[in-house]
């Protein structure tokens, strides 16, 4: 909120008049000079971080938000009286919207206006890149209604920001995968997502796909303004712009077979419907000059994206057969422990978690000997304290205890779903086991879950997206690990589903349509997709019917035997622990009370609590 000052302006006016020199050489503006500075700073950052959406304090323009207010602000920040301005909407200089913006800008900025792309120094556009060649002295300003390319796959803007910051675009790849599975082609039409400079996924304005290749290594500077969403972004000249698609799925531009412009006869421009079933160029400047013979058609043909015309022979249905021997990415290859590395794959030391005040000071007076987890000093809940264990490759360790014993807390601390109050976690695959992964930043910890430490949750919904197909769920992990071949992903998914005994006929069905046991098998397949050296299983069979649970247990037993994975199995059920693990740690009220070889513990439990757990499993 700001209140307009009704009193005579005081000393600050002096500051401004110094700044502006009291001159009146600029016509009355629709944007004050201070706001322009802010837009200009954001524009510069946009150029220096190509494809990143720079936030700015978007001002209200005399046009509604959604009507080019962002593009208008960028243009007002950029142009000077020496510029020659062109404004197009749908490629057309003559539409009402383009006309209105052009008169508004040129009258307030005192710059010349043109419809001839060749004369323009600044082109403000909605939905098109001009057909004419654009050069080094030209700037194209795009009006952007929706700047966020991830909006379709993630509704939370905070989460979208995180995904950009961490370059975590696997959700985007899953959506492309799902699209191909369901439709055989990528159905994304305009505003096609691109990877800019190998780093940021960016929405292209929306221009048609026809114009997207023009952004790659362009001569001109591209600036994007989203007024409503208050974002400015840019593609500098000579910057790599790749449309997102799998390596073996060609990007496709729009195509009208045998389409030609009814007016100028061009057959290699972006055409739109006209009356009587005819087509015309959407670029009115090009079309008019082409009809007059005032264009270089040969040079234009070099520019246009004929290489990306749709080709049914290169679509996934046609290529599925031909790619059996296509190379598989190296992703999933994990660092093997060096000869002098640790023997364990995962080592947990002194993990503690206190909910509530006091931290370590809350611990005294809690634990099995005090028969409570609630701190007498602070009232905090000591969910786990001083829990240590390690697991070697090819070994499975059980973590057993009743509900509330702290075993799942420990697992969540190891994964990173919860922040530990004390202790350390080391992975032999990370820095040879020298780094405490709890000290890594959240982004690095999330990265570990891609191919270093996978988890299978009790609830499949926690590890899977139920709206996505079984294949898509597994593709999420694979694309996060860098897989970019559609058919390679399909084959890997089929292999995994086959191993976990999910019928391949269900591969392209949404996981939400699966039974509980089948969902859990998909979750296991996803966890194994990148062959992580460490696998964490949190009550993997709890919640399943007994017969289904037995099947999943059999599967897990087989998987743990055949793979050189270090597994931690958390369960309240000694039968599960007994079936899967060699060594076990028994937890009660947040503490380890007994540990040893699983079959010994099961045959000859010492602690009365362990005896109870064993008895329960034998019933």
């Amino acid at each position: 909120m700001a209140a307009r000052l009704s009193e005579p302006r005081t000393g600050s006016t002096r500051v401004l008049s110094l700044l502006d020199d009291g001159r009146t050489d600029a016509p009355p503006g629709i944007l004050d000079e201070g706001a322009k500075r802010e837009i200009r700073r954001a524009t510069l950052t946009a150029v220096c971080v190509p494809g990143y959406q720079v936030p700015f304090g978007s001002r209200e323009m005399p046009v509604a938000r959604g009507w080019g207010s962002g593009g208008l602000q960028v243009t007002l920040g950029v142009v000077g009286s020496g510029d020659v301005l062109k404004v197009i909407d749908q490629g057309d200089d003559g539409g009402v919207n383009a006309t209105n913006l052009r008169r508004m800008i040129s009258s307030t900025m005192g710059c010349a206006a043109t419809t001839d792309t060749r004369e323009a120094t600044v082109v403000q556009t909605r939905h098109r890149v001009p057909e004419e060649a654009l050069g080094a002295e030209q700037i194209v300003v795009y009006q952007v209604p929706v700047p966020e390319p991830l909006r379709g796959v993630e509704k939370s803007v905070a989460e979208c920001a995180r995904m950009h910051a961490e370059q975590d675009y696997s959700a985007m790849w899953v959506s492309l995968y799902e699209d191909l599975v369901r439709n055989g082609v990528i159905t994304k039409s305009t505003g096609y997502p691109v990877l800019v400079g190998g780093r940021y996924v960016m929405a292209t304005s929306p221009v048609p796909r026809w114009d997207v290749p023009r952004l790659h290594m362009s001569e001109h500077l591209n600036l994007y303004g989203a007024g409503r969403e208050k974002r400015i972004y840019a593609i500098p000249p000579h910057t790599a712009v790749e449309p997102l698609t799998f390596d073996d799925v060609p990007f496709e531009v729009e195509h009208i077979p045998d389409g030609t412009c009814a007016y100028c006869g061009s057959d290699d421009t972006f055409l739109v419907e006209a009356s009587g079933g005819q087509y015309v160029c959407s670029d009115s400047d090009w079309c008019g000059r082409a009809a007059d013979g005032d264009v270089d058609r040969a040079a234009h043909r070099e520019r246009v994206p004929l290489a990306w015309l749709p080709d049914p022979r290169r679509r996934v249905a046609a290529t599925a057969r031909d790619t059996a021997e296509a190379p598989r990415p190296a992703a999933g290859v994990r660092p093997t422990a060096a000869a002098d590395g640790p023997e364990w794959a995962l080592r947990v030391d002194g993990i503690g978690k206190v909910h509530g005040p006091g931290g370590a000071a809350a611990v005294p007076g809690t634990g099995p000997e005090h028969a409570t987890a609630i701190s007498p000093a602070t009232g905090a809940v000591v969910a786990a304290w001083d829990v240590s264990f390690d697991v070697a490759p090819g070994e499975a360790l059980g973590l057993i205890g009743e509900s509330g014993s702290g075993k799942s807390t420990v697992l969540r601390c190891v994964i990173g779903d919860e922040t530990a109050t004390a202790g350390s976690v080391r992975l032999s695959g990370v820095d040879g086991g020298r780094t405490d992964v709890l000290a890594l930043d959240p982004s690095a910890r999330r990265g570990l879950r891609v191919d270093t430490m996978a988890v299978v949750y009790q609830d499949p919904a926690a590890g899977l997206d139920l709206n996505v197909t079984a294949g898509g769920n597994i593709a999420e992990r694979l694309t996060a690990a860098g897989w970019r071949g559609y058919h390679a992903i399909r084959r890997r998914v089929a292999e995994l589903l086959d191993r976990v005994e999910v019928p391949l006929s269900r591969m392209d069905d949404a996981v939400g349509t699966f039974s509980g046991g089948m969902r859990q098998r998909v979750q296991i397949a996803k966890a194994l997709a990148t062959e992580p050296p460490v696998l964490l299983l949190d009550e993997p069979t709890t919640g399943l019917d007994a017969s289904v649970a037995a099947g999943v247990l059999d599967l897990l037993r087989g998987l743990l035997i055949e793979r050189n994975v270090a597994a931690v199995v958390v369960s309240h059920d000694f039968a599960v622990i007994e079936a899967l693990t060699e060594r076990s740690v028994v937890m009660q009220l947040g503490r380890v009370i007994e540990s040893g070889l699983t079959d010994q513990l099961f045959r000859d439990p010492h602690h009365p609590y362990t005896q109870r757990l064993v008895a329960a499993a034998r019933r």
Partner: protein
């Protein structure tokens, strides 16, 4: 007093008109969009203001932490008066003008932004004696690659302390963090070095 400032008539406050501000911005925009291709700042203000101060004067406002590294505080006061910008130390500034010689290995910590907010990084304008694009004469030279550069381009910037390139490379924690640099000669020739540009040191 800088040679540019010596040309000022005494007693007259320096000025920058909106049209000049726009020209300065456009030169900076083009310089950062095309690293290694120098641009020219508008001439008139060079008579009364140090060239490396112009980008800062054109871009800062009352919400932009700004810093001038100079001998004394004369131009910092000018920036403060002309833009109302809050003046800060180099580590807190979004816009920095370096008007004095940087000492060899002078460790200046600038804001490098973060992956979550790359826009927090500093834009640093450094006054240098000379800039040469695609230089012909022998000597050390930078080979620039990255966005805005077709293939690679050679640039020679004189007067920087030893180890400048490796100092720049060590800033931040990898793209998108870092700083964006502008090099400005006394006569207003301007070259940009955004954080995206990879700089190789060569001798030709």
């Amino acid at each position: 007093m800088s040679p540019e400032a010596a040309a000022r008539r005494p007693g007259q406050a320096p000025t920058l008109s909106p049209a000049e501000v726009q020209l300065v911005f456009r030169a900076v925009l083009e310089a950062l969009a095309r690293p290694g291709t120098p641009r020219q700042l508008p001439e008139r203000p060079l008579a009364e203001l140090p060239s490396a101060l112009l980008p800062v004067l054109a871009l800062s406002d009352l919400a932009t932490p700004t810093c001038v590294l100079e001998n004394g505080d004369r131009w910092a006061r000018t920036v403060r008066t002309m833009t109302s910008a809050p003046m800060t130390g180099p580590a807190d500034a979004r816009l920095v003008a370096v008007l004095r010689q940087l000492a060899d290995g002078e460790p200046v910590a600038f804001r490098t932004g973060s992956a979550a907010a790359p826009q927090d990084a500093a834009l640093v304008c450094v006054r240098v004696p000379e800039i040469e694009a695609e230089p012909a004469g022998p000597g050390p030279v930078w080979r620039l690659e990255g966005p805005g550069v077709p293939g690679s381009r050679l640039l020679r910037v004189a007067g920087l302390p030893d180890g400048f390139v490796s100092w720049r490379d060590r800033l931040g924690s990898g793209f998108p963090t870092g700083i964006d640099l502008l090099f400005v000669t006394a006569r207003g020739r301007l070259a940009g070095l955004p954080r995206t540009t990879r700089v190789g040191e060569e001798v030709i």
